[in-house]
């Protein structure tokens, strides 16, 4: 098992900063997801780790040893590309055994390990087929088999599931998690899908415009985003502007046009500061109007949405998105009481 460390990594293409001053520490055997919108530099970062692109700044260390001078074939890594890139002129078995053949492993051993790994990816009996005779999901599993068979010290995956349909994607996600846990290979997984990142990763690194904005556990990124942009990218849709008051050990109050919202204590809160609070739709509770603990609101619209009810609730001029899992149902136009638990409110001071 290998620890991967990126130290101030940067890459310029002409006058484009594809990756800027990126620090990342990936613990032995863990899976880190690089998450970010298209063009934020995820692939470039992965290619630098693989040795397919040379950084213009910074260092890449495997077990605290710089690999910058090591060519890709000597880094002992495995990489699964965005498109599976199976060699079309080779059978499945030949594709899978490619890495072993390049390492000069003897034939009996190769045959044994190919059979073994094809069983793991549930493609026993497909060895003699050619890639063009496989479905997308099967091709993807061949690509993964081809990578894990060499027992790489580090596995890099570049949106390996983006070409699959939703159901297959879920199966493959579970499959990758199982495989990675079982083999304990340190893995960097690139994706622009936050659900995928949350489900797969031990830790998530969120990237915007070539910069790593926040690194943390899925729970941290999800519930305590560091910037408004991260919050937005992680699917928070409710933004409430206001001014902070009563900052103290017990938390603070955000005074808004629609009323006062209590906020959990945090270091960065300053009395009198303009701030924007974010609340996830599923963290807002709707109660009947006779409950006095919440803010007064009115249901604008309700939609049944896969096991939950999605409401749009108006508080004065402000419209909040609310997801309610309870069985109680409010009708359109009904007056309600809107309650937000302080620890679910995340406040960003105005820049």
């Amino acid at each position: 098992m290998t620890r991967l460390r990126l130290d101030g990594l940067g890459k310029r293409f002409g006058d484009v900063d594809a990756v800027k001053d990126l620090d990342l520490d990936v613990a032995e055997g863990s899976l880190v997801a690089l998450l970010g919108p298209s063009g934020c530099g995820k692939t470039t970062t992965l290619r630098m780790i693989a040795g397919l692109e040379s950084p213009t700044e910074g260092d890449i260390l495997f077990d605290e040893e710089s690999v910058l001078a090591t060519p890709p074939e000597k880094r002992g890594i495995g990489m699964v590309f965005q498109r599976y890139v199976l060699f079309p002129h080779m059978s499945v078995a030949k594709n899978v055994s490619f890495g072993l053949r390049m390492r000069g492993v003897d034939r009996a051993e190769i045959d044994r390990r190919v059979a073994e790994v094809l069983e793991v990816v549930q493609l026993t009996g497909f060895g003699q087929r050619f890639p063009s005779q496989l479905s997308g999901g099967q091709q993807q599993r061949v690509a993964i088999a081809r990578t894990v068979i060499t027992e790489p010290r580090l596995m890099l995956m570049d949106e390996p599931l983006s070409n699959l349909d939703a159901k297959l994607r879920e199966e493959m996600r579970a499959f990758i998690t199982r495989l990675q846990r079982q083999l304990g290979i340190t893995t960097v997984f690139v994706t622009h899908d936050q659900v995928e990142a949350i489900e797969l990763a031990d830790r998530i690194g969120v990237m915007f415009d070539g910069e790593l904005v926040q690194v943390g556990t899925p729970e941290e990124i999800f519930n305590r985003p560091r910037t408004l942009r991260v919050a937005d990218f992680m699917g928070t849709t409710n933004l409430i502007r206001g001014r902070l008051a009563d900052v103290g050990a017990a938390g603070a109050t955000l005074v808004t046009d629609v009323g006062a919202i209590r906020v959990a204590p945090a270091d960065h809160l300053r009395t009198g500061a303009e701030a924007t609070a974010t609340v996830r739709p599923e963290h807002i509770d709707l109660l009947p109007r006779d409950d006095a603990t919440g803010l007064p609101g009115r249901i604008v619209e309700s939609v049944y949405y896969g096991g939950t009810l999605a409401y749009r609730v108006a508080l004065g001029d402000l419209v909040l998105q609310v997801r309610d899992r309870s069985t109680r149902r409010f009708g359109d136009g009904e007056e309600v009481s809107v309650r937000i638990a302080p620890h679910h409110v995340w406040v960003f001071p105005e820049a």
């Binding site: 074939e73 060699f87 002129h89 490619f98 063009s132 005779q133 990578t147």
Partner: protein
Amino acid sequence: MIRQRRRGLGDRDRLGPFGRFYLTVVVGMVLGPFVPLVIGSFAFRWTWPDLLPSRWWWEARATARLPQGWDYVFSPISRVVESTGNTILIAILVTLLCAAISLPAARVLAKERFRGKSFVEFFLLTPLIVPEIAVGLGILVTFIQLGLAGTYWGIILVHLIPTIPYMVRVLTSVFQGLSDDYEEQARVLGASPLRTLWHVTLPMILPGLVAGGLFTFLISSNIFLLTFFIGGGRIETLPTLLFSRVSGGGALDAVAAGVALIVCIPGIVLLVITERFIKEEVFAKGFGG
């Protein structure tokens, strides 16, 4: 995509009436010119306005003073066998050298951007623009000084002049269609650059390489003027031999017709081989998918 295409193959030979007519015309136009050659090669006397020879080769065989048609072609004095050997040997070496020179050049032209690239691309085409006779005369002087005139290597070198532009063009477009991903994947899987070339790049560009090689072989085995200048009569290939027969005898006699048919053989054989090869070996395995 490949699978769908394969499923459609069953319908391939169903031609409409117009398709049939069109095919007949094309085949007629391609094969038509060969008919007089074939008949002529078997003739002893064939004069205008007879539609067929008045006397055939085998009828005159016992009485004729000179060997006729195919007898002559297969006799050592005709130098047909020798020139066929020369033609094939030279064409093979030219093809191999041409591929070896064009591969790296095409790769760079397809994948890299650099200053003066469009000039290099234009420069590579100039041999096709400058008349062969100008090139031949110019080079002959230099080659005489270098002692390359009248040698195999001299001929092989001049044959590279008109063939490299074709090969580079073909391979450049092949490389443009080949995504870098495959080579990068091979490297990541532990293949050195050389083994990547051998195990991944070459097999993947093989159809293009075969097509380019076929062109090169055919061009080389058909070059007359440059071979004539540099070979200087010492090294005879099929085109120069045919020329000497035609210019010597004036009209198309049985011997010239026979030689002319022999000249076609290397190309036809090669075409049949490579056509089968491209279809069965390469496309069967799902190339380009």
